[in-house]
Symmetry: C2
Subunit: 309 residues, 2 copies
């Protein structure tokens, strides 16, 4: 809704201390308010896509470069955070593509600094989408899951943040309209199944997700399957490691957010990721193709035609 | 102690399912028991050093190459995990150098796969050391802290691991003799202060560590300082994001483990990391120089002479 004070669509940084700082160094991005002209560099950004792997986010920026019909082949896209090896950041037109590493702490550091970046740059009406990989539950490997609700390891829609030693519980709601818009876009891409479901977010890939193949495992195959089936019955269709923190932080800061992950395997059938590099690479393009379709539609460019490569 | 069955010094994988697997794919390292001869590649490894940044762990491998007097200049050291961009791994003689990204979930994935790698490779008597960066508490920036005990955000020596939705509490004890041995080595390096203290490990860099400069902050400068002073009074001398999980996992698997972190700032004086790239780079070499001194001493090569570069 339009605000009378002209703040409509701005990112809502909720920190009264920030305006009192002479300079803000975004340490892990190797950017800052005194060293960089952030409004000039980022003021026109409308879409931010984030994902774990730096190579994948580079490939996504190159893919979007082509999808948006920008000049040049986009192959030489530059890492805007080249001075830091913590994250990689690329842009293609109004689309920013950033890696966040693995797990809640890693994505949280990136999101704090990204949200401050969007605030300093005075960006408006930004849509943010996590495009990730995940383990599926009871669905075919290669399926794409659009998250309606991110839940924790007890299947609850909450994110517990420790603040000065105390636990604060936050909502993990995502933008329902954006999820529906993404599902509508997926109907134009017949090559792979896309569905809406709950996404479970854990702090650990092995014991925390009930895998039998970690360095430690104290439970039986039966107990594992019982846990995963309870998750399925609670509506969980895939499992990853960032969605609750992503939903909580973006929601508090007024960003319309979605999580779109491809599943690399069905966890009811196994734990190890056995598909070939080629198959996995094609799986990872699926969320990218869906997001490209959404962005093209929003920008009035018509449906996506090219498969990612 | 020597075991009659010849298992003395081996890594203790605690997972009865592992031996039943025909193949073990270490997915995030892009290694596996069928695709790689792990005993030939890694059987002689005696020291494993881990740290967050891939560039830093590459520089450490190059530095160790020189310190160990190996043939060649070590500049072209190859990334053993080049097929994955999740982690980077290098070796120099009996020393393995691996990046783990930021936060407990990221280091946990790496450690599960590393511990299985050491198990499959039949490594013996491995010492593992995390060389990291951290925020200091009441000590000069650039000080090196050897962790005696890793504590959580309530200053307790415990790591809470969720297993199939239930919380399991684990000890975060580190090897006391190794910490003392490192402190003794530090006495031969007069250029920077080294001390032993507790290390607090958090899930978040901003709100979780009481920073006033995140995208969200709901507390005052006074409340922040009160929390950090309580941490100091509990014996905490630095704050980082991996030590409790590292101590717990290595401890359970029988690895002698240490955490050695340099402090990039004193958190009682500020939140932003303002030192120049040059100063920060020199700080990051300090734990490396200390570990090199330990490894040279263990291998009978005498004290380290070269500063890292």
């Amino acid at each position: 809704p339009h605000q009378p004070d002209g703040t409509s669509g701005l990112v809502l940084v909720k920190n009264p201390h920030l305006d009192l700082m002479e300079e803000d160094i975004l340490y892990h991005l190797d950017l800052g308010t005194k060293t960089h002209n952030l409004p000039a560099m980022f003021g026109d950004i409308k879409f931010v896509c984030v994902g774990g792997s730096p190579n994948r986010m580079r490939a996504f920026a190159q893919f979007m470069h082509r999808e948006l019909g920008l000049a040049g082949d986009g192959e030489d896209v530059a890492d805007i955070c080249a001075g830091s090896d913590r994250y990689a950041m690329y842009r293609a037109g109004p689309v920013l593509s950033i890696s966040h590493g693995m797990g809640i702490p890693s994505i949280s550091i990136m999101l704090h600094e990204l949200i401050k970046l969007l605030h300093h740059a005075k960006c408006r009406d930004v849509t943010i989408i996590r495009i990730g990989t995940s383990g599926g539950l009871g669905i075919k490997a290669g399926s794409v899951v659009i998250t309606d609700t991110a839940v924790d390891s007890s299947f609850q829609p909450r994110f517990e943040q420790v603040v000065l030693g105390d636990v604060v519980v936050r909502s993990t709601e995502l933008d329902k309209d954006l999820a529906e818009e993404l599902l509508a876009c997926s109907r134009e891409i017949p090559d792979f199944p896309t569905l809406i479901g709950h996404t479970m977010c854990t702090y650990d890939f092995y014991e925390g997700q009930g895998r039998l193949d970690g360095a430690l495992c104290s439970f039986s195959s039966e107990k594992k399957l019982e846990y995963l089936r309870r998750a399925y019955d609670a509506g969980v269709r895939n499992i990853e490691m960032e969605s609750t923190a992503f939903a909580a932080l973006c929601g508090l800061c007024g960003l319309k957010a979605a999580v779109v992950c491809v599943t690399l395997l069905d966890r009811l059938e196994g734990d190890q990721i056995r598909a070939s590099h080629e198959v996995l690479w094609e799986y990872q393009q699926r969320p990218q193709r869906l997001i490209a379709a959404l962005i093209r539609k929003r920008l009035g460019l018509g449906p996506a035609l090219l498969p990612a490569d």
